[in-house]
Chain length 604, copies 2
């Protein structure tokens, strides 16, 4: 059962409203069409996400007729290439009727593939060694658009074939003009059969949504047409799809569309949805009266005119921050943090979001170039980017070169959405996540500027922040309770879910805090700590179990203080607990302040 | 000096490449045009953000000629309305030459406003009681598009006027057919003068960028044209702008454009940028050879074809979370938090981002309707939404009604971008910020479900979390040091920048933590605390100065413990410090964990 949404309600009301339209005439050039019930009326919309809305007779089957033409044109373009097809069929609108026999006098070409002359020529261009193979190609082609097996209405086919003298004349004329290869009767049979394929508005809306999705069927997920050819077809539909009055249609509705004599109209909203309507009564131009009106109403009511897109290119930059404003999950000592913060202007992280088309890329690149701090390192954080148009790779490559020439470095991080073109991450130094990029920068700053003791040099446990302020017998009591150890890379210092029964003072090396069982680099890392820092220290507060695992990234030297020993010493010496808890509270207050800073940056 | 960016480099290379194109012929129907230097070649691009790129002879002035036509058409539509203009000028493409005298035989109308017949008629439709008034209206109209004062090239004007017999014939024929009001000679003078306006490619790129921005000039920020009329003009440019071969242009380039006989071409990328080229040599159709090629190359190299837009409607939902997953800045007691978390499924917050057009609205609305938890309250957090198309108000109104009918409530928060239509926040209950909406929901949950003591009832200071675990003489020592007080709403408990010399135990009422001096509700509020909670407690750790002010929101009862007293008591009783610091560390650890949860939600 369809879900009840505002759009469904709108369509139900629109259907009820337009069902009252009288007038128009059902096509009567063959008896099988003339018998159509003028009251049958279906509307379907399928979005590029694959959501379907159907009202009225949306599962009523009818013959596709001229709505087949853009799809067969797509097959011909695929099989023969654009140039070969363009030599035989133009792309120019014509004010003539759909069944006009007139061609472009200069070139002898049909004006476009959406009038009968052009459609018969494009049918003949579909590949296949035999008539059966060509037909199979055509049916497969349609089914890739509809995602459903299609049948031919044999009565309509027989009727079309029996009464199709005008189309027969066109086919022979086309062969006479050198535009048609092969046997005209064979091609006419293929043409009449394709016009007699039975479809519903649900089918046609899926096919239209495929055109709206750059040629990828949003229901099956399979590509039905090359993306560039898809643009090509939409352009021809836009200028030639609605027979006469193409200009008025362009002004009032504007989106690419195609109508057929059985009463079908399809409309394509690129990047949004496909629309299909079926209602047999036609206006004087041969377009479905109600079909036209559905498109006009939708265009007006929802602002669907393609030139309405105002865009907001500056929205591509979500925000930007300097080094030190957001830290990597690699925890540093206070002295190291101070060094990193002192060099914060050396790094700019630019958060990229949404779709990156021409105007967004121009803004983003300009934002980097104009950045007044001229940071040595610029990280583009792409984890919120949904799409980068592949035409823009050269622009980003040029940006990387420009920065390099100025002694600066472009770094890409987190560009992994399906819409990111392959090769994008090879334009510059790349990291899977922005955290990795920031850690890389921090390491570089420390390697160049930090004059203190590095993480690889063991530090005396008395330098631990948690023990600051302890002295005399108090300090000796704690030091006497410590046990010393070392771990090789990959070994666990503590495991998630096990009792939290000790705090570890790291003396040298690096330990990661990880969630779950994965050891993949970066993937589940919550934080990392180096020498001089305590880990697992919340054990002193809460006991309970470890909320994460502690894993050695490098060889690690450490000292252990068990909760049991700490409790015992605190019982004897209350000042030990007072000093250590004060230090712990101070450290937590600092981390909370940093977390709140980060929230403010993220929540803009 | 222009900044060096990849796009500028691209344009410089393109200019150098196409400067080498030979062939074509400078227009010679009047001597003033025939004398143009065929080597002059300028390219300008202006984005909808107002960024300008210029290469070559971008400040060379030339007469605008037929590029004026869509702009004057816009003035006529503004002054007379769409229907009145449509009665006299059609919108249909024609394969005829620009100076054809042929009109639509059925209606006697010129085919469209971009051929001479149509342009002369639209010129006559511009309002003004006198010729001078009409001319002033035309000049003002152009200047609103270019943002710069324009002059007429009197030599070209005189030459056009002297040799314009064909246009004179058109004008008289139009009057004969009843399409032209007033004196043909007056209208012809206005027409020739408008064609003789001197512009540069920089000017025309700004004018084209205005059309790309829905009619708002991106440099001056002023509206030059109504948005719906702007769409109208772009549609006519798309189908009728490039004389012959409109279909091939639609397939290969696709964006709306207009060329002129002096060698200018303008192109419009809706929502992105305006393009202008000047190069006098023309092809057989009367379009600038290099101008055409610049547009083709830009379209191909940057994927500018309008049907390329694939969209990503699902990107409109940035994420969603339940009640309790993100809290308001109103701090609650542990018991209150537990109550709020137990009812978390009662609230869903949906984070909306970017542009909300038809397909995005459909997805967003479907996301709310389909939400399996069917939360009673649904908050749309719009602070990252850049634009909501005003056509979509009814869809959101319908969503509000649908939810209401199901016993649910739609709440809007933070929809305040310039692109949000007025009236949007009146579709449902609205808050300035999502924090306010969450606090409102939390209050409602507590009012209904919380069975503990409310914030308005004074609580004994012994219930304070910071004092948990103190007993006997230790507790008495602390209690003995407390002083009690009360504040009226708006009074300061502590001021930012003043010494942090005490902790305050709130007994009843509510206190806000605020940054800066503003007292506006919500604006600078960092957090809020109610009875049973300690504020300013970091004074016990650090001393120093207050990093924020504490302001009474309601009447507040509180107890004060000075740092001096705490230090004195701790000196005598180390267990007091040990217990209080442990409690403080535990509270900070909990807040840090919540902050990190929030970061994970925000950083998706």
């Amino acid at each position: 059962m369809p879900r009840d949404t505002p759009l469904l309600r709108y369509l139900q009301a629109l259907h009820a409203d337009l069902a009252a339209i009288d007038g128009g005439a059902v096509a009567d050039y063959i008896p099988a069409l003339a018998s159509a019930d003028p009251g049958t009326f279906g509307i379907s919309i399928v979005t590029v996400n694959g959501t379907k809305y159907s009202v009225g007779d949306s599962d009523h089957a009818f013959t596709i007729q001229s709505v087949s033409k853009p799809f067969v044109y797509g097959m011909a373009l695929t099989d023969r290439g654009v140039d070969d097809v363009r030599h035989r069929v133009g792309v120019e609108p014509t004010g003539d009727a759909f069944n006009s026999i007139r061609v472009d006098e200069e070139s002898n070409r049909p004006f476009n593939p959406l009038v009968n002359t052009g459609a018969i020529v494009t049918t003949g261009l579909v590949r296949g060694d035999t008539e059966a193979a060509q037909w199979q190609r055509i049916v497969d082609g349609f089914e890739s658009f509809t995602g459903r097996t299609l049948e031919v209405d044999e009565v309509v086919y027989a009727s079309e074939a029996a009464t199709g003298d005008r189309n027969r004349a066109i086919a022979y004329l086309m062969r006479n003009l050198g535009m048609l290869e092969g046997d005209p009767e064979t091609i006419l049979r293929l043409y009449f059969r394709q016009c007699s394929l039975l479809v519903t508005t649900d089918d046609l809306a899926v096919a239209a949504a495929t055109l709206a999705s750059g040629g990828r069927n949003p229901i099956t997920g399979r590509r039905a047409l090359d993306e560039r050819l898809n643009e090509h077809i939409l352009s021809v539909m836009q200028t030639c799809g609605m027979y006469d009055a193409a200009g008025a249609w362009a002004v009032d509705v504007g989106f690419p569309s195609k109508s057929g004599v059985s009463g079908a109209v399809v409309g394509v909203l690129p990047g949004q949805a496909g629309i299909a309507v079926y209602s047999p009564p036609l206006d004087g131009c041969g377009n479905s009266l109600r079909g036209i009106e559905v498109c006009r109403r939708l265009a007006g009511d929802f602002g669907l005119h393609p030139h309405r897109d105002r865009g907001h290119p500056a929205g591509v930059v979500r925000g930007a921050y300097r080094g030190g404003e957001a830290r990597s999950t690699q925890t540093r000592t206070a002295a190291e943090y101070a060094c990193i913060e002192a060099h914060g202007d050396d790094l700019t992280v630019v958060e990229v979001q949404g779709l990156v088309r021409f105007a967004e890329a121009e803004f983003l690149v300009g934002f980097v170039v104009d950045d007044p701090t001229r940071s040595r390192v610029v990280v583009l954080d792409g984890h919120r980017a949904l799409l980068v148009d592949d035409h823009l790779l050269p622009m980003f490559a040029e940006l990387a070169d420009l920065l390099t020439a100025a002694g600066r470095t472009l770094v890409l991080a987190g560009f992994d959405a399906p819409g990111i073109p392959s090769g994008f991450d090879r334009l510059a130094m790349s990291f899977a996540q922005v955290d990795d990029a920031i850690e890389w920068w921090e390491d570089a700053v420390l390697a160049t500027h930090f004059t203190g003791v590095g993480a690889d040099v063991a530090r005396p446990v008395t330098e631990q922040e948690l023990l600051h302020g302890l002295a005399g017998d108090d300090l000796d009591a704690v030091l006497g309770a410590l046990t010393y150890g070392a771990l090789e890379p990959g070994a666990h210092l503590a495991r998630e879910g096990k009792p939290a029964d000790a705090v570890f003072f790291l003396l040298a090396g690096q330990v990661s805090v990880r969630l779950g069982t994965s050891l993949a680099p970066g993937s589940a890392r919550v934080a990392a700590f180096g020498g001089g820092v305590a880990v697992g220290e919340l054990a002193l507060l809460e006991g309970g179990v470890r909320s994460a695992s502690l894993v050695a990234d490098t060889r690690v030297e450490f000292a252990t203080l068990t909760v049991e020993d700490f409790t015992r010493i605190s019982g004897e010496r209350p000042t030990v607990r007072a000093v250590v808890m004060g230090n712990l509270a101070r450290s937590l207050a600092l981390r909370l302040r940093r977390a709140n800073d980060r929230i403010r940056v993220l929540d803009r």
